[in-house]
Symmetry: none
């Protein structure tokens, strides 16, 4: 059983709205074992919507449409559905009453234009909308199941969860899809691929994908089996192999973030951290404090953007900056030692580098960073070069710094 999503709306084609509705629907259908194979986006145009419906009817068994059910004249899905079904639009008194009651409850007067939301094709059933005015539609044509939902995300989501999934769950059959994301940082996609190149031979039934983003590379595994247990078991075996090969790069699974992992490790180790940032400008501290409860291990941060701040607060010696430069291993080391000392934290972490686009020198290009680490046992600096724009570089700098903390606590550095 395969599905198609048809997203309707000029705002999607104008790039003014990102199509997160389609992602929500796809994720939830997949969750009950119905993969979405096509997502088609068209504007508020009768012929284009009809064309998309006909194409979907040819190739998919379940079709979920969103958008075009509002009260304004560019909302034409009801008309197109009537055309597609060769049906008549009739004003449903029960639906109109429901819309009127809704307006009354909100102490607002119903505009005459809302009446058209009660016009329902006579060959379609309605899907109740408890949080908005436009009901959804559902109908069957030649054994294809169609659902037409509002484009307003909260209304669409509720209908998917409360009405569409319960109907589809019984028909999904036994074909369950399961998946996991393994999140890595500090390693190139090609290197990961090389290390696990035998995977597809070993696990021909698991699909492997590499998804790069500014934080690193996500390895995604998906499988399809007769039962949820079979699916999870298969996936676990594949996961086990990947951890054996490249486990040192994996900091978390699915929605887990690196700052969560680092926070958990710090808590377990009973250690505190303080951060001295230059080129990352507060991003490391921002990430660490995104975690509720981080005050137990995050002691303080200093964004020593100016040389004076490096000298005044962090006690970096001015002759070090003068001799080696603000962006240097020596300054990074002094910053890490300095923040550790003034804060009394167990770990001092520092960054100094060139986020760009300006500030590069012949031997220090944009994307160059020195990351300093200092604890009671040792102090060291690691250097990296990234090659993107300012925001991307800041993200990579921050991820690299947090990953050094992760690896150090785990004994991998």
């Amino acid at each position: 059983m395969q599905a198609e999503v048809i997203s309707i709306g000029d705002e999607l084609l104008a790039g003014l709205t990102i199509n997160s509705n389609a992602s929500f629907i796809a994720e939830n259908l997949l969750g009950i074992g119905i993969p979405v194979r096509w997502i088609t986006t068209v504007g508020d145009n009768e012929d284009d919507i009809l064309g998309a419906m006909e194409k979907a009817h040819d190739r998919a068994e379940v079709i979920i449409m969103t958008g075009g059910l509002g009260p304004t004249n560019d909302d034409i899905s009801r008309h197109v559905v009537a055309r597609f079904l060769d049906a008549k639009l009739i004003l449903r008194k029960d639906v109109l009453d429901q819309i009127a009651r809704r307006f009354k409850r909100m102490n607002r007067t119903m505009a005459p234009t809302n009446e058209i939301q009660a016009q329902i094709p006579d060959k379609a059933d309605i899907i109740e909308n408890r949080i908005g005015t436009a009901p959804g539609l559902q109908f069957k044509k030649d054994n294809r199941l169609f659902f037409v939902l509002p484009g307003v995300p909260s209304e669409m989501k509720r209908m998917i969860m409360k009405s569409v999934l319960p109907i589809l769950e019984n028909r999904a059959g036994e074909n369950i899809l399961c998946g996991v994301k393994l999140k890595t940082t500090g390693v190139a996609e090609s290197e990961l691929y090389y290390q696990i190149r035998k995977f597809t031979d070993l696990f021909p039934k698991i699909r492997l994908a590499f998804l790069p983003n500014p934080s690193g590379i996500v390895i995604r595994l998906t499988a399809r089996e007769q039962s949820a247990t079979d699916c999870t078991n298969l996936l676990d075996k594949g996961k086990h192999y990947i951890y054996q090969q490249v486990g040192q790069y994996i900091y978390g699974e699915d929605d887990h973030t690196l700052e969560q992992t680092v926070g958990t490790l710090l808590l377990k180790a009973g250690k505190t951290i303080a951060v001295a940032e230059s080129c990352t400008g507060g991003l490391i501290s921002d990430k660490l404090t995104n975690i509720s409860g981080s005050s137990a291990y995050f002691e303080r941060g200093v964004i020593a953007y100016s040389n004076r701040a490096k000298i005044d607060i962090l006690n970096v010696r001015s002759d070090i900056i003068k001799k080696y430069g603000a962006v240097s291993e020596e300054t990074a080391e002094a910053m890490a030692r300095g923040i550790k000392k003034i804060s009394g934290a167990d770990i001092g972490l520092s960054t100094t580098g060139i986020a760009g686009p300006t500030g590069a020198t012949p031997d220090k290009p944009v994307g160059f960073v020195c990351i300093g680490y200092s604890d009671d046992q040792r102090t060291f600096v690691q250097k990296y070069v990234f090659t993107r724009d300012r925001l991307w570089n800041k993200e990579r700098f921050a991820m690299s710094a947090l990953d050094i903390v992760r690896k150090t606590i785990l004994g991998d550095i």
Copy 2:
């Protein structure tokens, strides 16, 4: 002239990635007068990609494809293009050299798998990729223009701006759609709506929308005219009206951020700023330093998460914290005065509050924040209560703090 976007990737169909690439492309093509009429999303599946290309070839003049150009086995766009064009894949030595040079520059070894990124269909030209390894492809078939770009957003965006738009600009038609986003913060949607409620009567040809996000409310205006000049003139009139009514809330247009506005204002005023953050955890400093050139006005930041940091670095008196609490107007004021004094900056800005979900007290709920401001003329504290989750609250706190700086420099506070 009409365009189609084909987005390729299993992750899009699994709902794991939201298709923001398609929105970016659509918005920018529309900007030069080429509307995107269809967006089609398919998985990493040769037949589905080919099917989408054939359909697009039938109905659109410009086709932009993204995804499937990486170095791994699920990246199959090159093969499909070769099939579509009835072309051979040849290993392009010049492209391979470029990829190798890129790895060398980053001090990394090129994996053998990267070689496949240098395999180019012999009937296609390449589009240079200056920030990633996979070059894009471009080719013509029966007068249809195809562009195949990587799915990595930063690489795709650069190729659209530097390569695709310059080629297409000369071919665009006459029915121009233009739009503008006016970005506000610190005001409710209903209040904005009320203040500009006459807009649709005054400007029936301009479409008005309110888009809420964690940073504030965006007012979007769109219009369609015969020529770019007509469109811009109409839009300017509408914009002028909105600025008259609610201009004090608007901090920027389109992609402009509040930190850009604040940075420009600080530069013009010749003033420097230093920030003492508690509940925002570095987010304000991170935003300010996202702007290239911010070192001219951003002197330093301190994330005084612990009471000890507030006392040690910012010289907040411990009896103030003891008497009024770390989250209080008194502490916020002392933090703002403290950071101004130790940094020597012209403006000291501070935050202390409860981002949540824990930490609330009966009189200080989650979402409560005190923002302190201090310059040579005056020192004051503003209090707010927001009501969302931790990350949303941090964002609102940071935006509110930056907006205080904007308003103060403009003389609005």
